[in-house]
């Protein structure tokens, strides 16, 4: 590109007028209780905490904080319902309940999407088109497995584990609840689930849906609270298994806590995925995949493609295309249908991201950010990329969990495989090339649980998801997602 040619401009004509989602379908309570034994109960702690809308810092509702006694009640309810009836309920009957939950999620899809966006800050486009449909799809999919476990594991006499404790993160609140609850129920377990402190509300809506679906009391218990409540679940002696999605740091703590117990575990932890563009790739679509890989859900995605590796011969070209594409990203009110990048989930996460941006600058990397107006209140971070990054920079090594991309170059296939694998994480990766043989070569050598070729961030309940190395163990989704909830001979 000649230096005389002016970069294209994207902001002067045909700008969007506000196009806000209508929120009439949403019904909200002022105060949310714990869902234990089929009923909403006041917490024995008598404590409540506020759930904040990160786009305007307004309080949405007060949420109960479970203490040790509340956790114990929830586990007892789960144990009791497991022993007295759920473990004896015919698999076909279990399936009916799960199907029912799936259908009610679909019926209430709009309300759930709005609430997910209000509570978590993600764009309505994503909660409407991705989070909620995938949550329903997960229940539908696992409902189908409930009466076919003997076929999934022939001659191995699959049996449920008992009571499972499930702790989920704030990035995909309802979807993560679905990923956890659906396979647990299909395999005949009972559940104590704790959503993340900053995004409890859709899980509590799910509790209402579970009530409406007439699921027997105590089969699913949903209790809310901060990390310490999660710790109580982890350490409760009557829990048979912990399923956790969250940071690698907390995952390690949980593994230490349960190491001397018979508790089983599934861990879906952090990531620092490599997205690799070869010179023979469909470049425009690769750029789209990079955008989708890192800026989806404000980068709050464990499988986000946060490290971009570009073959040197197309580096300038890719960078130009990437910067142009970033110009048409809309940052702002998550309830606006045109918003691509919503609010950062919490004040704390924003300061983590900003800290990494400072570190990147101090380490000598070059920053490029979309220049756009950000709302005065709320937590915001414009889409950001760093060039002039090397493998030893902290922004290329550590999980930022925000809309921040670290761009590096490579010359040969061998080099990029080495660099991509040079990380303690191993959750996902992306490969962009028009050459099929190159795809197969890389997918067999990259140490990552999920590898996308010529696309990124595609999810489906039939497809297993999970990590290598410090990105965790166990798989969720697909047939593979059943076995972590079963004793198999």
């Amino acid at each position: 590109m000649s230096s005389k040619i002016k970069p294209l401009k994207y902001h002067e004509k045909l700008n969007f007028s506000p196009s806000l989602e209508n929120t009439d379908s949403l019904s909200l309570k002022k105060e949310y209780q714990l869902f234990i034994n089929g009923r909403f109960q006041k917490p024995l702690s008598n404590k409540y905490f506020a759930s904040i809308n990160p786009a305007n810092e307004n309080k949405i509702a007060m949420v109960a904080q479970a203490n040790e006694k509340d956790v114990d009640l929830a586990v007892k309810a789960a144990r009791n319902s497991y022993e007295s009836h759920w473990s004896k309920t015919p698999p076909k009957e279990r399936a009916k309940y799960i199907y029912r939950i799936a259908r009610i999620i679909q019926e209430k899809a709009k309300e759930l999407a709005i609430l997910e966006t209000l509570d978590g800050g993600k764009p309505i486009r994503e909660s409407r088109d991705i989070d909620i449909p995938l949550a329903a799809a997960h229940f539908f999919y696992y409902a189908g497995w409930a009466d076919k476990l003997d076929y999934a594991f022939p001659n191995r006499n699959p049996k449920p584990l008992g009571v499972v404790g499930q702790i989920i993160p704030w990035n995909f609140p309802l979807m993560m609840a679905a990923w956890k609850i659906a396979p647990a129920l299909a395999t005949g377990n009972t559940v104590v689930l704790k959503p993340a402190e900053s995004t409890s509300l859709t899980a509590l809506k799910l509790a209402e849906i579970i009530q409406e679906a007439d699921l027997p009391d105590g089969v699913v218990n949903i209790i809310t609270g901060p990390g310490s409540t999660g710790e109580m679940i982890v350490n409760h002696p009557d829990i048979d298994k912990i399923a956790f999605t969250g940071s690698t740091e907390v995952g390690k703590t949980i593994m230490r806590s349960i190491s001397s117990t018979s508790k089983k575990s599934t861990m879906e932890l952090g990531g620092k995925a490599a997205n690799i563009i070869f010179e023979d790739a469909p470049l425009d679509q690769a750029v789209e995949g990079v955008i989708n890989g890192i800026y989806f859900n404000q980068g709050h995605v464990c499988c986000a493609g946060s490290r971009l590796f570009v073959q040197e011969s197309v580096y300038e070209l890719i960078l130009r295309k990437l910067k142009d594409r970033m110009q048409s990203l809309v940052v702002g009110d998550p309830l606006d249908k045109n918003t691509d990048i919503g609010a950062i989930n919490s004040k704390q996460q924003l300061s983590t991201i900003n800290n990494y941006i400072d570190i990147g600058k101090k380490e000598g990397a070059d920053i490029f950010q979309l220049s756009c107006d950000l709302p005065a209140k709320g937590y915001w971070c414009p889409p950001t990329l760093f060039t002039n990054v090397s493998q030893s920079h902290r922004i290329a090594k550590e999980e930022i969990f925000g809309p921040v991309l670290a761009v590096q170059t490579f010359r040969t296939t061998e080099e990029v495989i080495t660099k991509a694998n040079n990380t303690p994480f191993g959750l996902s990766a992306g490969v962009w090339t028009d050459k099929g043989s190159k795809v197969f070569n890389l997918t067999s050598k990259l140490r990552a649980g999920v590898i996308w070729a010529n696309t990124y961030n595609k999810f489906d309940p039939t497809s297993p998801f999970g990590g290598y190395k410090e990105s965790g163990h166990g798989r969720e989704g697909g047939l593979h997602g059943l076995s972590p909830y079963l004793n198999i001979e």
């Binding site: 294209l8 994207y10 007028s17 486009r125 789209e288 130009r320």
Partner: protein, 297 residues
């Protein structure tokens, strides 16, 4: 010059990108601005064997008096006709800023000798065409004779000279894969096209959003390589406002502000104008009017 297919297009990726565009939402003022922009970009078209002078005169009147009840509307960009109708259109439009576009080069099949194609182009220009819409030789393209395709376009551009703008119709419905469409776009651009255009309107599928995106990306790469702007014209099958606005959003997010202008972007359409008018009136009055209130010429 040796041509090879260099720039790859991934079908799944391009269609994913379009899915995001079609979920954009244009409301109130931005919708009205968009609708007026669409109107100003229309090449009002009649390309029928049964076209007559009277029919073309009526169309030209429509082009210059789009809806008398609303005086602040822009005129359409051009009237697009067969070469035999150029004189009629040219006379009817002589006092207006509406261009006369003529199809040429044995439209729509392009199956004729270069000599005849040159002659036809010359006549259209002599009779007053401001713009020429030629078709490429798709058979030659498929048999790998890329130089033939290139030379033909270059020759017709030479015939047009610098004053008459040349639109090159790729007839994407006959080209097959997106890779081919991207490659044909590059050939046309390098051979001297002022505009690249999707379709004749005689073959289905005609214009689609993904095809248009592939062509816009070719235009963009050419801009960054040379600094030169090339126009884009999707044609055929764009008959309602919603779809037309999605095309505009595609231009907005791919090429940006410069191309949101009827000098660089056109719609080849016959029935689109009335639907746009209907939507504009709906925005102004709050209710839809019967289509009998809009002239069908």
């Amino acid at each position: 010059m040796q041509f090879t297919i260099n720039n790859k297009v991934d079908k799944v990726g391009i269609e994913d990108r379009i899915a995001r565009i079609t979920k954009r939402s244009l409301k109130s003022e931005s919708k009205l601005a968009g609708l007026k922009m669409v109107l100003s970009m229309i090449d009002l078209t009649t390309l029928e064997g049964m076209d007559t002078d009277k029919k073309v005169q009526q169309l030209c009147y429509k082009a210059t008096h789009i809806h008398n009840e609303l005086p602040d509307l822009p005129n359409v960009a051009a009237v697009c006709v067969y070469p035999t109708m150029v004189k009629t259109a040219s006379n009817a439009l002589k006092d207006f800023d509406v261009k006369v576009a003529s199809v040429a080069t044995a439209f729509p099949s392009g199956s004729s000798s270069l000599k005849i194609k040159i002659q036809e182009t010359k006549e259209a220009i002599f009779n007053g065409a401001d713009e020429v819409d030629m078709v490429i030789s798709r058979g030659k393209f498929h048999s790998g004779e890329y130089n033939y395709v290139f030379d033909e376009i270059a020759t017709i551009k030479e015939t047009c000279g610098s004053d008459v703008r040349l639109k090159v119709i790729l007839e994407t419905g006959e080209l097959g894969d997106y890779d081919h469409i991207r490659f044909a776009s590059e050939i046309a651009i390098n051979a001297g096209a002022d505009f690249i255009k999707t379709s004749t309107g005689k073959i289905k599928p005609a214009a689609t959003l993904p095809i248009t995106l592939v062509m816009l990306e070719a235009i963009k790469d050419h801009y960054y390589n040379t600094g030169k702007m090339i126009g884009m014209k999707p044609a055929g099958g764009i008959s309602n406002s919603k779809l037309a606005l999605q095309y505009l959003l595609l231009v907005k997010e791919t090429l940006g502000d410069l191309w949101l202008d009827n000098h660089w972007f056109r719609f080849g359409a016959s029935s689109l104008a009335n639907d746009v008018l209907m939507q504009i009136l709906k925005l102004k009055k709050g209710y839809y009017q019967s289509n009998n209130y809009f002239s069908k010429d």
